[in-house]
Symmetry: C2
Subunit: 489 residues, 2 copies
């Protein structure tokens, strides 16, 4: 590779002759790892012109660098970083000496929160019972590509490249209001919709607008771990509410709650679906508390066994439900595309906050999704995923029963995971470690709990990313590991 001449820079403040400074510049580049062995240096003429020095100065510097074996020259093809050049130091060059006390300079700390349990290289495991990743076999890659190319076309170019400031792609918003939300029973105007960078971002925006250190947020326990990191930033008070097999019990939401966070379609991680009667009761409780409900409509489109129940938002004439939707699960997580639906005064604040934080989700991503949705590809993708998961889920159920494992929670309409319970005395954190060595990935349950001394016996088995024919052998390995752990216990 040729090293672009623009990457060379003489620091005006440096001392020494021009020639020495050029030599030092190259040597530092090699030692810092920026210039690599075998890469082609600019010609003496080009470098001289770029640096504004005489060509002779550069030629003399190159000669010295040849002598010290930083460079080699090849007949008629110029100078290259030598294969014998010193290896990069592996630490920052000596000139850098950190003089800032970052423990003091950092005003607010955010690091140290929940870290995902899933290894980055999950795809290299044979039995990945993990949650929420795309199965590349199911995704309609060709159609997505066509939509992306269309969104890159001349007609859409202006829409894609303009800075919307605080606006969204009108085509995507229109599709969501006219096609997506009606499937959840929700009728909303464009002013009541805000596009977000996935559900995570939607929950973050809602929390920032609605909460203060004086307000109390009711959270499902166990629940979505990332929500805690989000709420930590608002410094609000947190009221954990234990969920049961039917999800969040409305009567258990304490007095004084200002905002209720719930995932009624598919509770995370127990998979419970909030029944219709509880939906009505939850809204009545919110009305009595004069509280706002933030509905994370998590995995509603994974209702492939029975139709999804209407969203809480659809049952809410008061405007007290803020609805969070996402395309990250049904398209792919790296897409980072979701939406908030709520009353106009709320959306106005969330939009202003979004404008300050990052303005808007990239225009091209919004327009690509709009085309994909409009052409019906999303619908067929959801149907295809539903068919595949119906099959996998049946295999999961059969294999779990065969192996004698215990299901603790399961979605009424489908979903993509089982919430499991290990026999008494088994710590699923240790179990997950053991299984990992056997190329099996499971998710320990403890990180989902809010309580200080969480139960250690739960685990979650996702089936979006494991091929059907590996489910049986994978479940067998889990059962064997459990038997060994009990034998030792």
């Amino acid at each position: 590779m040729a090293i672009p001449v623009q990457t060379f820079f003489l620091h005006p403040g440096a001392t020494g002759t021009l020639q020495a400074r050029i030599q030092q510049m190259v040597a530092e580049g090699v030692l810092s790892g920026r210039l690599r062995r075998g890469e082609k240096m600019p010609s003496t003429r080009a470098l001289a012109r770029h640096l504004g020095v005489s060509r002779l100065t550069v030629a003399l510097a190159y000669t010295e660098l040849l002598a010290s074996d930083y460079l080699t020259s090849r007949q008629r093809s110029g100078h290259f970083i030598s294969e014998n050049a010193p290896a990069p130091a592996g630490f920052p060059p000596a000139a850098r000496q950190e003089r800032v006390d970052w423990a003091r300079a950092i005003g607010q700390r955010f690091a140290g929160g929940a870290v995902p349990e899933r290894p980055q290289d999950w795809a290299s495991y044979r039995y990945p019972f993990i949650y929420g990743q795309t199965d590349p076999q199911l995704f309609d890659h060709a159609s997505w590509r066509l939509c992306a190319v269309q969104a890159l076309g001349a007609r859409d170019f202006r829409a894609m490249t303009q800075d919307y400031y605080d606006r969204d792609d009108p085509e995507l918003v229109e599709f969501i209001t006219r096609q997506t939300l009606p499937r959840r029973g929700i009728s909303a105007r464009p002013e009541e919709v805000l596009i977000t960078l996935g559900a995570q971002n939607a929950l973050w925006l809602a929390a920032q607008v609605l909460l203060t250190p004086e307000r109390t947020a009711a959270l499902e326990d166990p629940g979505y771990p990332a929500l805690r990191a989000i709420l930590a930033q608002t410094r609000c008070r947190i009221a954990p509410v234990a969920v049961d097999a039917q999800g969040l019990p409305p009567e258990a939401i304490p007095d004084g709650t200002g905002v209720i966070f719930t995932a009624p379609s598919h509770q995370c991680p127990t998979s419970a679906t909030l029944p219709m009667a509880r939906r009505e009761a939850l809204l009545a409780r919110a009305r009595a508390l004069d509280a706002i409900v933030v509905e994370d409509d998590y995995e509603f489109e994974m209702a492939y066994l029975t139709p999804a129940l209407p969203a809480l938002k659809s049952l809410d004439p008061d405007g007290r439900v803020v609805h969070v939707g996402s395309f990250s699960k049904s398209l792919f997580p790296g897409l980072r595309l979701g939406y908030l639906v709520g009353s106009e005064p709320f959306i106005r604040e969330a939009r202003a906050l979004r404008a300050a934080v990052f303005r808007h989700p990239p225009g091209h991503v919004q327009r690509t999704a709009a085309h994909f949705l409009r052409l019906g590809h999303h619908d067929s993708l959801v149907r295809r995923i539903g068919r595949a998961l119906t099959e996998r889920r049946a295999v999961m159920e059969a294999e779990i029963a065969r192996a004698g494992l215990t299901i603790a929670g399961v979605g009424a309409h489908g979903g993509s995971s089982f919430w499991m319970m290990a026999p008494p005395g088994i710590d699923t954190g240790a179990l997950a470690e053991t299984l990992r060595a056997d190329s099996v990935l499971i998710e320990p349950g403890a990180p989902f709990f809010l309580r200080p001394d969480p139960p250690r016996g739960h685990y979650r088995l996702g089936y979006t990313s494991i091929p059907t024919d590996r489910i049986g052998p994978g479940i067998t390995r889990i059962a064997e590991a459990l038997a060994r752990a009990r034998g030792r216990g």
Copy 2:
């Protein structure tokens, strides 16, 4: 268009016969504007199966809807929303009755900040002297498209679709550390770089990590208006520092300042470039204050007249400079891609905050930019933009001189705008309104100032988006409007 059957929904809580509820559902859809005249209804068979009711019930409902002219039927092709169906009400259906006191429910307010002066339909004006939008004629659309398609290819698919959690695309980070930052004289390791959703997002993250209500931020006055909205959220104290023709005077930064925000390459809006001596003095002042400097390396790539000076970050052995870069200006604003460079403890906190707020910028956008940069398209684009702007800037200078207008500030290395001064007594806010009616867009200067009673005589003329042959006539119109305003004044 055929209306998908999935968008129909019977609210379980509703009263009335099934047939009446189906009629009401369709009528409400029409009145809310969701179902539009001429759209095709699902067949009675499909709707009956979807709703789980008998086909006869649906057929009877359709008959009633035909009678009330909500629907029409066409021989052999089914039912359609009638062309005589009632028009949408233009207000939410009566069932929605907002019962939330949002003045109370909103915990934190974000709306009401600086609104951009630029009209959304700027492209329809003949003389748009606006700032920061892409000229579609200059952008290398074909190459960007190829890179996007490559990033959508099978090889990159996993990289694009995976949820990185808090990581970035390693290919983009590598390019930035090895190719982009060296052009600014900066050497950084991948752990010292964080990809952001544009410069706005980078500044927001830095402000959140570094500032608290007890700390003081020094800001350039006049300065980048969006920075004030960002800092408002940290509730920090703000020390405005008046800039002069050479940018921020380091000696004027008050004692007690904890964080200094500056745009040394191209001050916004005065276009001033911080000279080398001031760069050294600024770092010395920061060292004396033990302050952090946030360097917005705004428009460094627009140095087409003389090479850019090295970034502050490159002159900083202490690690006290946080560097903000962006591809939004040199590629296109809707891309929303930038980066933060800083010491590892700082980047770690910014990364954790980013993970809570939105996880990471979309993978596909990162990978597309990585390809575009790696293949050298960005370099040639910057060169092409530089050539075009050199020409336009010369025409601007000649026309401004010819028309007798006064330049108040100009970038030493190039840039894309002039900071102008109207004759005494003229309010450029009113001037901009007058010119707008004449199809000329200029930016009034007052919104850039921090002081409570800002001077009203400045305005900014951008030349990225106006064709060269329209510059002369546009400047003439500005001069005429100024002459008329003085005649009245």
